[in-house]
Amino acid sequence: MNTNSTTKFPVSQLDFSLEIKGNETEIVISSYEDHFMVIATQIGAMGTVLYARKEEGVSINATFNVSVIFGKRDEPMLVACARQLIEHVSVSGSSKPLVLSLGLKDHSAETLKGIISAVIDNRMW
């Protein structure tokens, strides 16, 4: 029987909200053993889910693979957002892939920049 009542939950999580262009945005960041997960929602649902990872290769310059795995496939700003974040993850020294979930009311560059800076300010990598 597990009697250790001070065990911390193994997944580190961070949950905060902020306003971006007038829309209340809630962000959850979770760190698993082999992935980072970032959820940013303004619509009360997870929205579009993207997967971004660093490619394994011999070249010095890292390359990344970003794809939409669920949801809108015709919003390039979402892909750009995932691409920015995975590069930041990589530059910070981690090679864990990123699962990014964006449920947004608007897909303007300003909104996505706001999300990127909020996530980076509170990053878990």
Binding site: N2, V28, A45, V99, S101
Partner: protein
């Protein structure tokens, strides 16, 4: 009811809380519940994020890996449940069945990430049982008479 009996019941309640070691917090619209349970020498971790119209669940079996991810929802016609694998795995892996039944129980869209290995039906059943019990206690499931609880 005498006060001694009441006190004992309250003690038991407190003990149960500690055993489960549930971390739950709500900020804004989201409610996050995370807890771990030891089942037959195996540690199962659960992370539940409740959105207004959706639930995200992660089930960890011993490790803290994300595992395979599935999306499930009631779809046309007649709100029949559809499940698809969105990260890793195929449609016959452990998580897809759980995702399917979660939609039936909650009536909401479900995103489930689960790293329970294939071909472990006992473990899958146990994990699902614990998860459903927790969802019921949190009030996320549909009432028996029908209708969705929000």
């Amino acid at each position: 009811m005498d006060s001694e009996g009441l006190e004992k019941e309250i003690e038991e309640l407190k003990l149960q809380e500690k055993k489960g070691d549930v971390h739950a917090y709500a900020q804004g619209q989201l409610q996050i519940t995370s807890f771990s349970e030891l089942v037959n020498d195996v540690c199962l971790h659960f992370q539940i994020i409740r959105f207004p119209k959706q639930i995200y669940v992660w089930i960890g079996y011993n490790s803290v890996k994300l595992g395979h991810m599935y999306a499930a929802a009631p779809t046309r016609p007649n709100n029949v449940v559809s499940v698809t694998s969105i990260l890793g795995g195929a449609s016959d892996n452990t998580g897809s069945g759980i995702a399917h039944r979660l939609v039936l129980k909650t009536g909401l869209n479900i995103i489930l990430a689960c790293n329970i290995p294939k071909n472990s039906p006992m473990l899958q059943t146990e994990a699902e049982k614990i998860l459903i019990q927790k969802l019921i206690s949190l009030g996320y499931t549909k009432s028996r008479l029908g209708g969705t609880t929000l």
